[in-house]
């Protein structure tokens, strides 16, 4: 078995003269929910289209459970269930007929399985209506049901919250987490709005202009050891502040910035006591110290700056 559910290796996409994806490399761990964030036009959908083989990869490769989507398409795609952009279905068929249509395209999907996924996304009541009459939220659920049909180990959801009202978004959030746990799948979920998916992700990758900017852990990962390595954003009100900044740099090699009266820096949790001790020992007055309530959203904007298209 491969080490990662999915691995991108220097994946590039060039269309005409323009390089749209400039060498993406990252891994999706087994069983994690991975958020794929970037402004519109950053290359999220293009990357996802390459992951599922809808677009050719110009150079580099994408491995799904160890199989290249380029050279071992069938073996690789078997592991994947996906919605790419909008969950489009045949509007003249019922939800059930749509699911059966896709079920017939995989070898191991029985009628019982179709019932199972319908129940999983809570679409039992509407399943015999024509999809043309579905609301966007219902189509989104049907799309997820379709993606889950053939027991995928990776679920790819492109902008699943797009066009949904807040209630619909909350609903999706809830059952994507549930599905990830119940079905034991890795989930890749893209969005241009971080706040919408932040809560359901384990890690978040941020992409801008076809380049991966950073990958951040959101929730504590499963292992205890990793929990302690989690970085905290510390805010300390101290005086004299310039001396404090120098001290942090000298003794702990931490680059702190000044925000008005506050000292702001990032560090691991286990270092916090010794940092404060250093400051106190050097006669720096500490008025307050705490973990910044800075959300990932702010960080996201810090990282990508203004939404640039081009």
């Amino acid at each position: 078995m491969a080490e990662f559910a999915m691995e991108l290796i220097h994946t590039k996409k060039r269309i005409g003269q323009k390089e749209i994806i400039k060498g993406l490399s990252f891994q999706i761990k087994k069983g994690e929910v991975f958020g794929f964030i970037g402004p519109n036009g950053a290359g999220k959908t293009t990357t996802i289209r390459m992951m599922v083989g809808l677009m050719n990869i110009t150079s580099g490769d994408i491995l799904i459970q160890g199989n290249s989507i380029k050279t071992k398409f069938k073996e690789a795609i078997k592991e994947v269930g996906a919605i790419v952009e909008n969950p489009e279905m045949y509007p003249f068929m019922t939800g059930w007929q749509n699911l059966m249509h896709y079920a017939r395209m995989s070898s191991d999907v029985t009628k019982e399985r179709v019932h199972e996924v319908v129940a999983l996304v809570g679409l039992e009541k509407a399943i015999n209506q024509k999809v043309g009459r579905y609301s966007l939220g219902m189509r989104q659920r049907l799309g997820i049901a379709q993606a889950l049909l053939s027991y995928p180990s990776i679920l790819i959801l492109d902008e699943p919250t797009n066009g949904l009202d807040p209630a619909g978004i909350r609903e999706i959030r809830q059952y994507i987490r549930r599905i990830a746990e119940e079905e034991q799948v890795s989930v890749i979920i893209s969005s241009h709005l971080l706040s919408e998916i932040e809560m359901m992700c384990d890690r978040i990758g941020i992409i801008k202009n076809g380049e991966l900017i950073t990958i951040e852990s959101v929730r504590a990962a499963v292992g205890e050891s990793e929990k302690e390595k989690e970085l905290l954003m510390m805010q300390v009100e101290a005086a004299p502040i310039d001396k404090a900044i120098n001290l942090l740099q000298a003794k702990h090699s931490i680059k702190a910035v000044r925000e008005e009266k506050m000292l702001v820096f990032q560090t691991e949790k286990e270092n916090v006591p010794s940092i404060i001790k250093t400051l106190v020992e050097q006669d720096i007055a500490i008025y307050q110290a705490g973990v910044a309530k800075k959300s990932l959203e702010d960080k996201f904007f810090d990282l990508i700056g203004e939404n640039t298209i081009g």
């Binding site: 289209r49 599922v52 809808l54 398409f73 069938k74 045949y90 003249f92």
Partner: protein, 323 residues
């Protein structure tokens, strides 16, 4: 069920579940029944019985002879006049019956079905519409993305779509045949014997009506397959069904004019439409000099391979993006 069979089944479901497909069949049924009713009203129908058919035929021939003479006197036509030829052919046929002592058949269901071979151009039209939509619609609906992320290669998906289109043509063809026989049987009754006389290689010959009907349908199928494959290719290339329908139907209707327009060029015989009518070789008058059945079949195969290869390359290699 085999995997490929399931794909075909999927395609046929998507086709026959839509009302527009049923409207096609309703129109087709209306046409057939309408033609039968009209023929029944306007054609008084000759009534040959075992006693009178010889005198009937002789009467007919006299009338035709007189008709032709009057026509020649009035209009002074060319040597190769269509009307004169038609009358002459009719007389020849009657004489053949008399000489060989065969009783001609009254108009019946098989004759009606045979006459309806022209309806195959309507079947071609409908099949073109279906062929033009089968790939383009998946793009229009956006469902192509879900179709191509299954553990099935794009080539197999394309093949299943192509075969499904041909299957639609076959079903529609059988529908036309069956409904023609049924409505023909209801309006005119069935023939007592299935012997008929046809022109083959410039000579009159006796043959079975069933063979004759099936072969005239068969020759039209060549055109149907070529135009359908063409529409299929356009639909794959441009991912637009309206464009594919437009181009294919325009070419189908203007094919003969195109050939006529370029007739004196040396390369005219390589035009697709000069070769789609293989019946020209059995009746014995090829469109252009130097054309043979073998030549036409070769040209058709070359076009066919080009259509299929272009469709296949474009479908399997191109990115699916931006919808």
């Amino acid at each position: 069920m085999g995997k490929f069979f399931k794909l075909i089944y999927n395609e046929e479901i998507k086709l026959y579940i839509r009302k527009s497909t049923w409207i096609m069949y309703i129109v087709l049924a209306g046409l057939i029944i309408g033609i039968a009713a009209l023929t029944n009203t306007f054609d008084q129908g000759k009534n040959y019985t075992s006693d009178n058919w010889r005198t009937e035929l002789q009467k007919e021939n006299k009338a035709l002879q007189k008709d032709t003479e009057d026509y020649i006197k009035e209009t002074n036509p060319d040597e190769d006049d269509f009307y004169v030829n038609m009358n002459q052919e009719e007389m020849d046929r009657n004489n053949y019956y008399l000489e060989h002592d065969i009783q001609p058949q009254n108009y019946g269901a098989w004759q009606f079905t045979s006459d309806n071979a022209g309806l195959l151009s309507v079947v071609s039209l409908l099949t073109i519409i279906v062929a033009a939509g089968t790939v383009a619609n998946e793009f229009r609906w956006g469902t192509i993305k879900l179709l191509l992320i299954r553990p099935i290669s794009r080539s197999v998906i394309l093949l299943s779509k192509y075969v499904s289109v041909l299957l639609f043509a076959l079903i529609t063809l059988v529908f036309v045949l069956a409904l023609s026989l049924i409505s023909g049987g209801m309006f005119f009754g069935f023939e007592d014997s299935l012997q008929t006389v046809v022109t083959s290689h410039g000579e009159l010959q006796q043959t079975s009506l069933v063979t004759e009907t099936l072969s005239s349908y068969g020759y039209q199928i060549v055109n149907l397959i070529m135009m359908t494959t063409f529409a299929f290719m356009i639909s794959v290339l441009f991912r637009n069904s309206a464009l594919a329908i437009g181009i294919a139907i325009f070419l189908m209707l203007s094919g003969n004019s195109i050939v006529g327009f370029f007739q004196d060029r040396a390369w005219a015989k390589y035009i697709l439409f000069a070769n789609t009518d293989l019946q020209q070789y059995t009746t014995g008058s090829p469109l252009m000099e130097g054309m043979t059945m073998q030549f036409s079949i070769t040209v058709l195969i070359v076009y066919y391979i080009i259509f299929i290869a272009l469709s296949w390359i474009m479908f399997t290699k191109r990115d699916v993006a931006g919808f």
